[in-house]
Symmetry: none
Subunit: 203 residues, 4 copies
């Protein structure tokens, strides 16, 4: 039922997963316990429905990232993509935050979160690889980039660190573009070399 999903979103936002009582959700939805269990088999089930939504939206980001060139066009593409991220997080952050709390305990949800994570990270890594060929820690690069995006937005919401949407987008755009999509270069007349990459032994 729609009212229950909406109520769930509100309550999980306000209280987190563990502190949310079925009673709170039911009251917020102005319905009864009985009805709750008519539509969801338990508290977790409602939560998962919300989390799936959020995950689906996030997954869509993986597809929407086109090739990035290390110039102003690339920067613009990143800006657009980052903007999407910020907006999706603004919409689903409450659920994503609650998920962080919950994923510990639930295999399914943990798996799904993990797969979303890997999925987006891989997409990012693939794009980076087109500009700066990566050896085997490609995934790590993608993950680092995604980590920044996710956590920065988390802090914006959860702790109300005052950063406007505009500034958030500016800052993240620059950091993603310069930090991941620009090849190594000379700085102040000297070659700034990446540290020579060692061949990794299998992990």
């Amino acid at each position: 039922m729609q009212r229950l999903l909406a109520a769930g979103r509100t309550v999980f936002e306000a209280q987190g997963f563990h502190n949310a009582r079925v009673d709170d959700i039911v009251k917020a939805a102005k319905t009864s316990h009985g009805t709750f269990y008519l539509y969801f088999s338990n508290k977790e089930d409602l939560f998962k429905a919300l989390a799936l939504d959020a995950a689906a939206e996030m997954e869509s980001l993986a597809a929407s990232l086109g090739p990035i060139t290390p110039d102003d066009d690339g920067r613009e593409a990143i800006r657009e993509w980052v903007t999407q991220f910020v907006d999706i997080y603004e919409a689903h952050g409450s659920v994503i935050r609650a998920q962080t709390e919950w994923e510990f305990n639930d295999r399914d949800l943990g798996k799904r979160a993990h797969s979303t994570l890997v999925h987006i990270s891989s997409a990012l890594a693939a794009r980076i690889h087109e500009v700066r060929p990566l050896d085997d820690h490609g995934l790590a690069e993608g993950l680092a980039c995604l980590s920044m995006l996710e956590r920065f937005n988390y802090f914006r919401q959860a702790h109300q660190v005052e950063v406007s949407r505009e500034d958030a987008i500016d800052t993240l755009t620059r950091a993603v573009f310069e930090g991941f999509f620009v090849p190594d270069r000379r700085v102040a007349g000297r070659r700034v070399a990446a540290r020579p990459r060692r061949v990794r032994k299998a992990g």
Copy 2:
């Protein structure tokens, strides 16, 4: 009691804050409920003791970051600092992760987490400002950098995304250095300009 603190760390690591039972901790410490409540007034109290430790270690990072120059020396300094971060997270990550789960519900802990966050972010922002003068979203830059570090390490631990310590350090070092400590530059023969900064209205 030491055994209880150690047991707490283990159990919170394995189960998160909410799913950890006092009983589990007590069993892990091979002691009794009575003893638990002799030393801590409740589960939260033990957890806070651990969280304070972790926060103190993290705070120490704010002080240990010297000036960064945009050359190989700066890169090396960043590498060292990132290494510290990775190692502290390796030691205290279980608690920091559980804190994420808990900070929702506890004013005190939320405040403390927030202050640690702002403290380190500010230190980072100050260093960045020495290289690339920032206008008023300085804190945002610091926060973006810290977000990447924290969340990346979280994913390494929580989801067991297989990234070796060495690769983690390599990846983060490069991303922090290039993404935050290198001034804007020409790429591929064209000037890559930062987007012109608007003067912000007071926030």
Copy 3:
């Protein structure tokens, strides 16, 4: 719920407040712990509900005491009033007894008990004053009278000192009437004077 109130009365009667377990009450009411906490927020809460009932009944006695004359009519009026007291105590004694145990620890309940006490004592004192003008220890006279009534009935119930209802009423009637409602008089040909009352210094 009615069954819980009844069960509470039974259990407090048998075991006193402190020794009564919520479990006992719940079993006596043939219901569950959950139900108990649905209707009462804790053991104290249920107890207070019972105590309020008892207090209300007792308070009603204050109103039902008309003027007493020092003759057979007065004696009859006292007899009727004492009878009421004995019967109310028979109905609510278990709760009143438990209250004695509890009032130590609870400000609210202590206050209420105190006010019932003072209320009835004052009503008694006022009636006595109509027959034997009292100086300022009027309240003390009322309290003495009430003390006798209460404690006598307590002993009848708690220690099962075998005194029939009839004998209890006879004895108390005489003691209340002769002890409080008959003016000083000559005994055996000599004047039996009350000890001269000193003027009290303000207390």
Copy 4:
């Protein structure tokens, strides 16, 4: 140990039996749990030691009540006896009050309290019988008298109903003397007859 007994008295006075923690007593006595159990086998045991003291003092009252004549001498004798009662209660009231709370649950203590009660009541009844021959509810008369004395003093202590020692003694003396030790008499020119006594069937 003396310090423990004194501490027990203080703590039971302040908190009642059930709310008194062994820890409180031990702290008040500036000693340790171990020492407590060296001298007393449990909390109850310490309490009983105090209660026995109080009971012994109270029992002594039974012996100290000489024959009462229904004249000024009798009144003086009653005044002295009442004075003793008030003073003993002042000294031991805290324990007696706590005993009320506890006697519910302890056979031994209940028995002892009961026997003290019956003992004093009987002594009173015997004296009353010398003046106003009583049929079989003699014990009831003694008990009524004792009830008044005990409960009145209880209220003085527990609820701090402000009655000075002097007023307490005045009031109780008159009530005991007139209420129990003066034969039936004419009032206002008419004979005030006691209700005819029925012969009781055995209870």
